[in-house]
């Protein structure tokens, strides 16, 4: 089947199998390896991408659901060499250790800040409660998102 979507701002059409999941299309057919698979059952958030601005776990998301939609992946977050504010805050707070969960957290953070630019700490915690990290203990991740929100607020 033909899947057409706006992927990271560009229209893309790709021939897929009806049973393909979005993560498979991204990783295998389009070579976007920044989206990770850790559990394959919607239980860890490593594969989080945004569809029409909403965070979804792409490992259980039928690819055809993205047909005609706007899809954002980690590859679309930075502008060329310039890191996105969220990414820069992750760097500054060492909010990534092994890094395998990191793209998923950044996408969840982006989904949150796009609609709620000044979240409380509890809202940040709720916003990333579908993402698991085994390395960091989460505090530096929450700090990074809080800091990113502050920096983006100042930039406005």
């Amino acid at each position: 089947m033909l899947l057409e979507m706006i992927l990271n701002g560009k229209s893309v059409s790709v021939e897929i199998e009806p049973g393909d999941l979005l993560v498979q299309v991204l990783r295998e057919r389009l070579g976007l390896i920044g989206t990770k698979i850790a559990c394959g059952e919607g239980e860890c958030g490593a594969c989080t991408v945004l569809v029409d601005g909403v965070a979804v776990t792409s490992c259980i998301y039928p690819a055809m659901k993205a047909h005609g939609r706007r899809v954002e992946t980690i590859e679309g977050v930075a502008q060329d060499h310039e890191l996105h504010t969220i990414q820069q805050a992750f760097v500054d707070h060492a909010a990534s250790q092994c890094g395998y969960c990191t793209p998923g957290f950044i996408m969840s953070a982006k989904a949150l800040l796009d609609v709620n630019p000044q979240p409380t700490r509890d809202e940040i915690v709720a916003g990333i409660s579908g993402n698991l990290c085994r390395c960091t203990g989460y505090y530096q991740i929450v700090d990074a998102i809080e800091d990113a929100a502050r920096r983006m607020g100042e930039g406005r």
Partner: protein, 288 residues
């Protein structure tokens, strides 16, 4: 995994697609459960009929004395809906406790109900709200009490290869009514409940005019604790009366031993605790 993936434009077209594939096709909404069922060989259908793009099925609205929720409405939208939070709080709380944000963004309440699991958060709340579901099939559309959708654990009387559920509806909780939701799980997000309970209480002049208590998973389907409800109805909701009702609910509950989620003993004891807390909370909220 699948041979085809279809987007019908109307309910009628969806039903025709199902009919055309004679049992090989089934309805898919968010797919958060269905994808895994397909991968694990628990769903044989090879053609997916995706109903999330049919116009007119995405509303949360109050009309003709009912709140109606279309079959495309996700858990996240319900949890955030001011209407639901105000007039059926128990449902907002239940939907807000499902999985994690990403799952709530995609999974639908109706899908959760059609899956027919006895501890599905949304379904347990709908039992307490005495909801009805709107079934659409070749015979047209009709409303059924939600309890009639359940045949057993994971078994729905609605056949998703032939029929679809277009909406759920229930009476909004007006003044003097309140609801509460209690849930126990091994961790605070991304966990199925060890036990959950939804209660709805109506108070009139200091006396319970109506009490509804739903509990899961203590039976093959979400469970209404009728004896407990009857014991409290018509009574002033004193702490003693609430405790008595909670005990009756626990006595009637028949949970299974689960290696992962807790023993029968523990769950039975927790029915009493959770129902007592939920009743106390709902009664307090219902007081003028």
């Amino acid at each position: 995994m699948w041979q085809n993936y279809l987007f019908p434009a109307t309910v009628q077209e969806a039903l025709e697609m199902l009919a055309a594939h004679g049992g090989q096709a089934r309805i898919i909404a968010g797919g958060t459960d269905l994808v895994l069922q397909s991968q694990r060989g628990q769903c044989a259908a090879t053609v997916m009929v995706d109903i999330t793009r049919i116009p007119g099925l995405d509303a949360i609205e109050e009309r003709d004395g009912y709140i109606t929720i279309g079959c495309q409405v996700t858990h996240a939208r319900i949890a955030a809906s001011p209407l639901i939070r105000q007039k059926a709080e128990v449902l907002a709380l239940a939907c807000g406790s499902v999985g994690g944000p990403q799952t709530r963004n995609v999974g639908t309440l109706v899908g959760n109900v059609v899956n027919a699991l006895p501890a599905a958060d949304g379904a347990v709340a709908l039992f307490a709200l005495e909801a009805e579901v709107e079934v659409a099939d070749a015979d047209g559309r009709r409303w059924l009490p939600i309890a009639e959708m359940y045949a057993g654990v994971g078994e729905c009387t609605i056949d998703p290869c032939v029929q679809m559920v277009a909406a759920v509806r229930f009476r909004p909780l007006s003044d003097g009514w309140a609801s509460a939701y209690q849930r126990l799980a091994n961790r605070k997000a991304l966990a199925l409940p060890i036990l959950n309970t939804a209660v709805v209480v109506g108070l009139e002049e200091g006396v319970c005019s109506e009490v509804r208590i739903a509990v899961g998973p203590v039976a093959p389907t979400p469970f209404r604790a009728r004896e407990a409800e009857a014991a409290l109805a018509g009574q002033p909701p004193t702490p003693e009366a609430v405790v008595r009702a909670a005990r009756l609910a626990a006595e009637a509950a028949n949970p299974r031993d689960s290696v992962l989620r807790g023993s029968r003993d523990y769950r039975k004891a927790m029915v009493e605790v959770l129902v007592r807390r939920a009743l106390t909370e709902a009664v307090t909220k219902a007081m003028p």
